[in-house]
């Protein structure tokens, strides 16, 4: 299955892109995807603890089971206001 991955704020600077896609085995979890992404973009690794993960428009835990076509987002702590 394939999922899209979007980056926001300075994560775009660290990855050099706004969006990418990943092919994953069925049953993969959000954490599996995160490991894959950090492998491709090692600059994200030191920020793991503060990284926020969303699928669609909702935050999801690392054990969330991904589905084909999911739109995943990775971003740093939010700073609105």
């Amino acid at each position: 299955m394939r999922v899209s991955v979007s980056f926001f704020s300075y994560f775009q600077d660290l990855t050099g892109c706004a969006q990418t896609t990943e092919a994953l085995a069925e049953g993969s979890r959000l954490d599996d995807l995160y490991r894959r992404i950090v492998g491709r973009f090692p600059k994200l690794a030191p920020l793991e603890k503060s990284t926020l993960l969303a699928v669609g428009v909702d935050y999801q835990p690392r054990d969330y089971v991904l589905r084909d076509g999911d739109e995943v987002s990775l971003f740093p702590p939010v700073q609105g206001g």
Partner: protein, 143 residues
């Protein structure tokens, strides 16, 4: 509960929002909050802040917060305006208004909403410095 959310790159026209305030009978309290861009960020002088949003998710998260507010407090109306893009120093970036029967719930809800927004709503800011040449980077995914 009436709710109105506006994410906009236009300046916040407080007086215009105020003129359209919904004020149902029995409401006794209005609390407004205005967040204004300060002239320093982490000790450095800045010219502006540039706000970026993951707009679809920001709207969804705001509405989740509105749902929660409605469960917690007897609020008649919540209105939120958040600027996106470049907001100059001394301009407001956020305007929040709560209309409720009593001041206790209006203050509580207003502060809760701002605190929660800063925790979950995907909006980010970056400083725009005063130095020549330090022009704001064009956000790839700004609103």
């Amino acid at each position: 509960m009436r709710r109105e959310l506006t994410l906009t790159s236009e300046p916040i026209d407080e007086a215009a929002w105020l003129a359209q305030r919904p004020m149902p009978a029995g409401m006794g309290a209005v609390v407004c909050f205005l967040g204004v861009v300060r002239d320093t960020e982490a000790g450095a002088a800045i010219r502006a802040l540039e706000y970026e949003a993951f707009r679809k998710m920001a709207e969804h998260q705001f509405h989740r917060l509105f749902d929660e507010m409605e469960k917690r407090w007897p609020i008649a109306s919540v209105r939120v305006v958040h600027r996106l893009g470049v907001v100059n120093v001394s301009e407001p970036s956020l305007w929040v208004e709560i209309v409720a029967p009593h001041r206790g719930e209006a203050f509580a809800a207003c502060q809760w909403l701002i605190d929660e927004m800063k925790r979950v709503v995907p909006i980010w800011k970056r400083p725009v410095f005063q130095r020549a040449g330090a022009r704001p980077r064009r956000s790839r995914r700004s609103a």
